[in-house]
Symmetry: C2
Subunit: 180 residues, 2 copies
Amino acid sequence: MVVKVYGPAYGAPKRVLLCLLEKEIEFETVPVDIIAGENHNPDFLKLQPQGTDLLGKTIEEQGLVNQWLEVEAHRYHPPLFDLELHIMFPNFVVRSEQVIKESEEKLGKVLDIYEDRLSKSKYLAGDFFSLADLSHIPFTCYLVGPIGKGYMIKERKHVSAWWDDISSRPSWLKVLEICK
Amino acid sequence: MVVKVYGPAYGAPKRVLLCLLEKEIEFETVPVDIIAGENHNPDFLKLQPQGTDLLGKTIEEQGLVNQWLEVEAHRYHPPLFDLELHIMFPNFVVRSEQVIKESEEKLGKVLDIYEDRLSKSKYLAGDFFSLADLSHIPFTCYLVGPIGKGYMIKERKHVSAWWDDISSRPSWLKVLEICK
């Protein structure tokens, strides 16, 4: 798919053109006459929103998505990644039973907080699937798969229902198919 | 240019695949065997860094780039945009001489801070051109052009030298050519 920049004649899109040129990324431009209101044409409006709105619609939703993305990045991912390293990649690191034990404890405490959160809302940022949920999928898939600690998900009722939901999304099934 | 995702078999790139699928954006995948160290091959390393490093190399540089991006977004752009609206688009808003006067005063105060900053470093985030400088170019070009207030730049020695520098970058000259 060619990168297309719509309405290149205006200030904000010019920032995008500058970035693409500075980064040496090819692109096409598609004129849009905002003065003539072309940005309100049905064909133009069809371009966005496209697919799932992963970032939230309101400023409050967006704040919650960012908050849970941070939780994933700083609390959930690090112990999970250590489990992955020490259990799945013994050639990369010297397997340490203590790191494995401590990482599982850390991740368990985080999952307890998730269990509480997910007892109040269907997804992490609210009642909509967001980038915050999405960012958990690939590595949690390792947790329940090759890491062999799926019980950490299963033994938590709401986390388990959340995982069954997000891990059965067509997009993830498609990723698994691509990476077979 | 087709969007290419390298090393789709690994956890982090799978997040990218998920986003592209959720957003219904076409892509190609290119296998990279990290276990075999293919991510250290010269051909792979050539992929990044690509073009100008707009975000800074160190965490300190990245922090300064973000800080000045915020200044542009919340201090520099709003009064400049009001000048643009009231001077360039009288059909969109009822031209208000008071808004124009107040916006020029606000922007002048911000430019005084820029003058001080740019007396200490060649660019806003340091001695390297970054996304923080880039984000100023399109609308500042309106300021010195159709808005007719280029003197606000010219009368400030360091801001003027900075503007002459960033507005003569090949990438911007190319944008002007594209948008002719």
